[in-house]
Amino acid sequence: MTSPASVAPPSLAALRAAAAAAGLTVCASASWPETDADGEVPALAGFIESSFSPLLAEVAARALRSRAQPQGPGNVTAIVMVTALGDVTSAVRVAAAVDAGTRVSPLLFFQSVPNAVAGYLATRWHLTGPVVCVSGTRAGLDVAAALIEDADADEALVVRVDLAVTGGGRDRAAAIVVTGPADRERHRTG
C-alpha cells in the first residue's frame, strides 16, 4: 500500500468494496492522484495524445510495486481493466481527424483498444493471465473472482481508469491486486 491519503478516492473505495463483495483479498493497492505531487501523468513511450494508457500503466505499476511478497516464476496474474467510458480522448482525436480529412497517426491505431497498454503491462511485469476489459467495477471484480476460482489466474491486477470528460475535471485511476479467499491468511501475515 503506497497511499498515505486518509480518504481513498472513490474509484479505489469502489474497487475495494467490489473485491470484498466478490470474496477476494486485496493484497496491494494504489491510486491516482495519491498526493498533490501527482500532477502530470508520466509519459509512456509509444502512447500519444491521451492520458488513458499512461495513467493505467502508472497506477498499475504502483500497485504491483507495493505487493508485499515476491511472485514465484509460475505465478499467473490476470489483467482486468475497468473503464466506464474508455479512452474518450483518443476516440475524439480520431473522429476529429476523420471529419477534417487530416492524417490519422498510426500510433492512435495501436492505442485504439485498452489491450495495448495491457500488453505493455503484461510484458513489463510478466503477467501471463487473461486480459479483460469491462465497463463496470462490480463486473471487473466478478471476472477476477471467476478467473481465480477456475485457476486461470492465481491473482488479478484490477485497474480502473476514468478520464475527465468535462472541462475542469481530473483524470482518476485506481488499481488493486486481488487473490482468492484461500490466500487471505498468507497475505494478512505476509
Binding site: 476516440a91 485504439s112 483498444v113 503484461a122 476489459c133 465497463s135 463496470g136
Partner: protein, 391 residues
Amino acid sequence: MTDALAVTPAPAARRGAGAVAVTGAAAASAYGRGTEALASGLLSGQPAFAPVQRFDVGARRVHFAATMPGLPELLTEVTRAAAEACDDAGLSSADRARTPLFLAIHGDPAIARAPEADKPGRGPGAFTAAVAAGCGLAEQDVRCYTSACVAASTAIGDAASIIARGHADRVVVAGGYLVECDQFALFDAGRVLADDGQVRPFSAGRRGLLLGDGVGAVVVESLRAARARGAPPLARLAGWGRTGDAYHPVQPHPEGHGMARAVTAALQRAGIAAEDLGYVNAHGSGTGQSDPAETNALRLALGDAAASVPVSSTKSLHGQSLEASGVLELIVTVLAARKGMLPVNAGFLGADDRCRLNLVLGEPLAATPEFAMSLNAAFGGANTALVIGLP
C-alpha cells in the same frame, strides 16, 4: 521448430461440474441477417468483400470491407440479434427477465462526436443496458466487454465458467461491430488492411486483414436448465481457455506460447485429446506475424494432430468483426459442425512454410466433427479458445 519445453505449462484447468450448452443463436453479417444467411454465404465460398459504400474512403489506402447494404445501426442490430437468439432458445419473457446480458462492443459509436455533457451517458455500460431493455433481458448484472478481438470470446468463456459452477443458469452473450469510418481510418493508418481486397489467412502472399460487419448472439445455458425446460441444445460448450502472452503490447508471441496455453486449457476443460478435434476455426487474421504465431501455437498444443485437423479462418469470407469476432465465429463453428460442412479458407494463393496446416481449400469439406474449436487473439497478447461439442 518450436520448443515445447519453453512453454510455461498450462495451469491445471479447473471448472465447475455442470455441463454447459448453447441453446440459441442469431447472427448478421455481410451475407445478410440470420444464421441461415450466414451459413449459406460461408458455404458459397465467396468472400463478401467489396468497395466500401457506407462512408467516404477516398482518402484511405484501402477501400474494401464486408458490409451489409445501407446504414445499419449497432444498437438496433445487436438488440435484434439478442432477441432472436432468445427466440431460437425458446426463452419465455419470464426466462429473459432473469437472464443477464454480456455484450462485446468497441463502445457506443456516438460517443466520440457527442457533446461533452452527453458523453458520460454514452458509455458502453449504458449501451449494454439499452440492449438488455430492448430485448427483455435482466437490466441488472449486465456486463460490457471492450477487450478488442477477444471481447466476445472472453465473455463466452466467462459465461461458461459461472454456469458450470452453478453461479448462473443462463447468460445471453452478444457482440456487434459494424464497419464505420473511425476504426476503418485507424486500421488503414496502421497499414494492416489488405490492399488487394482479399484476406488470405495462412497463405503465401497474404497482405493483411479486412473489416467486416459482424453481429452475433448466443444463449449460453446449463444443460440441466435447458433440459428442465425442454430446450434442445445446438451444441455443448465443452471447454474454454483464456491466456496472455506477456510478450509485446500489440504483437503475438512468435512461438504462440500464450495461445497454446489457451488451447490446452480448453481441451482440458472439455476432457478431450487433441485427436478428438475435428475442426479448428482459426483466428487467422491474414497478417504477416499473426498467422505463423497461430500455426506454432497449434503445433505446440495439438502435437501431431495439428498436421491433420481441418483448419480454416472464416475471416477470409466475412471479414474481421473486431469485438464481435468471438461470438460470430463461435456461431460459424457451431453451424459448420451441425451442417457437416466445414467452410473454406478463402483467398489461398500458395503454401507458406511457416503456416503448414491442413487448410480447407477450394470448396467446403464434408465432415461431422464431434468436437470443434474457435480461436481468437487480440492486441495485448490476449488469446481465447472455445471448444464446442455436438449434443
